[in-house]
């Protein structure tokens, strides 16, 4: 079995039993599970970035701390900040979505 997705589905196909919930809301518990899985995947991505930084530092003949101390000003800094702002807007979209606000108003 070469595909990671196939491997994952093969594993899940063997799991048995009821899945008891702890939170009052089953949907909230599912979202928590997704968030924790993403936390783990974030750690995996962090490890990858760390490896790449170390390899680049080695290729440059510098300590990795020197690579991590690099800061950018001007256009590059603005570009980076814009990317961060966009990431936050995507992640927190639900908090500013007017449809969510309208629904809350109707409920009130």
């Amino acid at each position: 079995m070469s595909s990671t997705t196939d491997a994952l589905h093969a594993l899940l196909a063997t799991a048995r039993g009821e899945r008891p919930k702890s939170l009052a809301c089953a949907e909230a518990e599912e979202v928590l599970n997704i968030a924790l899985a993403l936390l783990v995947e974030l750690a995996v991505a962090g490890d990858r970035i760390d490896r790449l930084e170390r390899l680049v530092a080695e290729l440059r003949g510098q300590p990795v701390d020197a690579l991590r101390a690099i800061t950018y000003d001007g256009d590059v800094a603005e570009e980076r900040q814009a990317a961060t702002d966009a990431l936050i807007a995507r992640a927190l979209r639900i908090m500013v979505d007017p449809r969510a606000a309208r629904a809350k108003g109707e409920a009130d």
Binding site: S3, L8, L11, P20, L23, A24, E29, A43, R48
Partner: protein, 374 residues
């Protein structure tokens, strides 16, 4: 012999991301166990118990009411949901590389098990129906459970148990150099005058870590091990062969051993008592004594979850029964094991309970031992 983090031919080819994922799951579990779970009893007092009083006008009394009160605490519910999720992620983190590399693992296991120069043996019983109280449950959420057998040459249950067990243990704070067999060997040296067994039986051997460790430590001894699962035993046998140690594996029930009376010097079980019900545990203890030679020693080692001070602590510990597929967790924790050993035929003065430090890390283990009268 190390039993964790040990390299052998059956381990899946894991990429760097697999290892990162397993380490991240260990870190999540270590955080939940080290920083969040210790507050559960406190949040029972500050959230659970007051919520119960508000709803019912009185304090929770019975274990079921205390459990109900725990579940009225938002902090406890959040920990419980996260802990269940982390336990499931253990199996994802190890199951993915195992199934991905399964054709190679299966071929390697088969080659080792059938090699002409093999040191040990494997005896499966096609007529044996694995005990449903163990086989029908995904114990600690291991997908498919201990007795999963997907057909000839299948070793998935053993592979999952070994790799998942390592990720679980490291997240529990158990040291990478710890070994339950080494804890028992140290006990034999300290409390039984350096007892040197010539014939050893490991009951409920799962993926074979302890039995292989005994075979390595006592190279002159003949080591036998039994378990209910064919997939577990195929893996255990091939693993032992890969490590170059001789162990004879048998598929049979712990409560009905097919060995002669008085035929072993040392009979051990590791983390078995909490996986089986009361009746089977008592039968297992009787069988362990029956096959023990006069003068021989039995040691049943298990997790140190017994003797908690209050009902609230006991119910908190019982999370595993309800959320982690550990149906007999509380039964084991509350059992009078000394009485069971006496009922098995041991003299009261020969039975000892032990609170044992791990050989590596801060963990502790429980054990109950007895010497059969000569």
């Amino acid at each position: 012999m190390k039993v964790r983090d040990l390299q052998h031919a059956l381990l899946p080819a894991a990429c760097t991301d697999d290892r990162s994922r397993q380490q991240a799951v260990v870190a999540v579990r270590r955080f939940l166990n080290g920083n969040v779970r210790p507050r559960n009893v406190e949040v029972f007092e500050t959230e659970g118990s007051p919520a119960f009083v508000e709803r019912f006008g009185r304090q929770p009394q019975s274990p079921e009411e205390v459990r109900q009160a725990f579940l009225l605490s938002p902090s406890y519910r959040l920990w419980s949901a996260a802990n269940r999720s982390a336990q499931e992620m253990i199996w994802v983190s190890v199951g993915e590389p195992i199934y991905r590399d399964l054709p190679r693992i299966t071929a390697a296991a088969s080659a080792l098990s059938h090699a002409p120069e093999r040191l040990g043996s494997l005896e499966l019983d096609p007529g044996y129906e694995p005990s449903p109280e163990v086989a029908d449950v995904d114990i600690h959420l291991q997908p498919g459970g201990y007795a999963m057998d997907r057909g000839e040459d299948d070793v998935v249950a053993g592979a999952l148990y070994e790799l998942g067990g390592n990720v679980f243990s490291f997240g529990q704070g158990i040291g990478r150099g710890d070994s339950k067999a080494a804890v028992v060997i140290r006990l034999l040296e300290s409390d039984f005058g350096g007892f040197e067994p010539k014939r050893i039986l490991d009951i409920g051997c799962s993926a074979g870590a302890a039995s292989a460790a005994y075979a390595a430590h006592y190279p002159e001894a003949e080591v036998h091990a039994v378990d209910i699962g064919a997939g577990m035993l195929r893996y255990a046998h091939a693993r032992a062969e890969s490590l170059g140690v001789a162990v004879h594996y048998h598929q049979m029930d712990a409560a009905s051993l097919k060995f002669d009376d008085d035929s072993f010097d040392l009979v051990v079980s590791h983390n078995l008592m909490h996986e089986i019900g009361e009746e089977k545990r008592r039968s297992m203890m009787k069988e362990a004594r029956r096959v023990l030679r006069p003068g021989g020693i039995v040691v049943h080692q298990d997790v140190a979850i017994r003797g908690l001070p209050t009902l609230v602590h006991q119910v908190e510990r019982d999370w595993d029964t309800h959320f982690n597929g550990e149906a007999h967790w509380n039964t084991y924790a509350m059992a009078d094991l000394v009485a069971d050993m006496k009922a098995a035929g041991f003299a009261a003065e020969d039975v000892q309970e032990h609170d044992l430090p791990a050989v590596h890390g801060k963990n502790r283990w429980y054990a109950i031992s007895a010497r059969k009268a000569a």
